[in-house]
């Protein structure tokens, strides 16, 4: 059965998040924003069970998140962390890490992955500590894409990139969403970026959802003082 609801948060508490009730539908591209320390990264880690709620339940495709195999879930709901956290070794070592865990690596994938994140193919054999911050961030994205996730959790994936590369990565993400039906759940500080990529917005502050809904509406007509203040 097709579930319209991709994720449902039912009274979820996880310090410092207070009590979250919301759902994300198939085809939504969700932009999470809010001040530093609001709990955005904490929230993101709940989706692929890097941590679990203290109270309440999360449902994925209608079933309790707890009922899925953890490793399968994490491959399907991929995460790109706020820091690149690359493994020591070469770019190739990083790209094949996820698929190799299950013997699914196919070396032909490597170049396509690099191309997707706008890196030249000869980067495969480079050692990761020779890469710039922005390049590391892109390898980190490619490493997650290697698992072919159907949901992509992104924690400020372009924070270390220049304008030009940011736009290219945005195009890649848009392509994933439109062509491959990947659902994006993304933390971003840039409201312009949110507008370009998102259909839904969740504004988080102090561990609480202050406003959420259609992104364009949210940003054109902020109802709370907090969001108004955040936007200026």
């Amino acid at each position: 059965m097709e579930h319209n609801e991709l994720f449902t948060f039912d009274n979820v508490k996880k310090s410092p998040l207070h009590s979250l009730n919301f759902s994300i539908k198939r085809g939504d591209n969700v932009m999470l924003f809010g001040p530093s320390g609001a709990g955005k990264s904490t929230l993101l880690h709940l989706f692929n069970r890097l941590s679990d709620p203290d109270k309440g339940s999360i449902y994925y495709l209608g079933k309790d998140l707890q009922s899925y195999s953890i490793t399968e879930l994490r491959k399907e709901v991929g995460l790109v962390m706020q820091a690149p956290n690359l493994f020591p070794g070469t770019v190739l070592d990083n790209l094949k890490y996820g698929p190799s865990l299950h013997g699914e690596w196919n070396s032909e994938k490597a170049e396509a992955l690099l191309e997707a994140v706008q890196l030249p193919a000869d980067y495969l054999d480079r050692s990761v500590d020779q890469l710039s911050g922005g390049e590391q961030q892109r390898v980190s994205l490619a490493r997650t894409l290697a698992n072919n996730p159907s949901v992509l959790l992104l924690d400020e994936p372009t924070s270390a990139l220049d304008q030009h590369t940011t736009e290219e990565i945005e195009q890649v993400l848009e392509g994933l969403a439109i062509e491959q039906g990947v659902t994006l759940i993304m933390v971003t500080h840039h409201l312009d970026q949110a507008k370009r990529l998102g259909s839904r917005g969740i504004f988080l502050s102090d561990g609480e959802i202050i406003e959420e809904g259609n992104l364009a509406d949210l940003l054109s007509n902020p109802k709370t003082e907090e969001l108004q203040a955040f936007m200026t």
Binding site: R49, K75, N85, F87, Y97, G98, L101, R143
Partner: protein, 257 residues
Amino acid sequence: MSPEISNQSLLFLVVFVLVPLTLSYYYQLGLSKGIMWSSIRGTIQLFAIGYLLTYLFDLPAYIGIPFMLTIMITVASFHARKKGKGLPSVLGIIFIGLIVIEGSVLGLWLLFDMIEFTPNEVIPMSGMVIGNSMIAMGLALERLKSEFKENEGRLTAALSLGAEPKQASQIIIQRTLGASLIPNVDKLKTIGLVQLPGMMTGLILGGVSPIMAIKYQLVISLSIFSAVSLSAIYITLMMYKYFYNNKMQLKHMEFDQ
């Protein structure tokens, strides 16, 4: 045999304590109390062990040896545990590890007729194996904790890519083992060149021929090398799991050193 050290000459050892004592006083290092206390405590400990050993050496081997080994392994376990504060079950794991490692080494020594099953051979030799294993386990524990702390981001990334704890820990396990083994490989390389190992020195002073002393030293050095390697591997493989909960999530532990 070389002449015995008389008690009077022993008294002049005080000179060796006075030197650091004076330095500490002169440069206001605040170590005077520590120096005095450690030298007195060390002296008493050594004499106590001396008398205990004399007594044990007179006991039948099957009583004296198990008795002393139990004491040594227990003390060593408590000591190594200090480095693993905050980790569950660590004392028991160390204790069992030391028993198995010491047991196997001793078994091999006896099997290949390298030493006799008498307290005066088994106890000092075992003491060296147990002591070094204890240090190796402590170092491996410390290293493991700091590696987990330092690599939290990478471990989280590995888990998020679908790695199981064992797979995610691979990098850390390698680094911990490497760090524990490399100094010992180096030690073995320079053995005898930089300094004569303690045991050999002791045997030569005691009147044993250098070649004989070297044979014993070889037995002990290689035994220690293998015991130390096993200790590091054992403790690392036994303990890494405790950094995760049963949902393949990293535990956030507070380690105060």
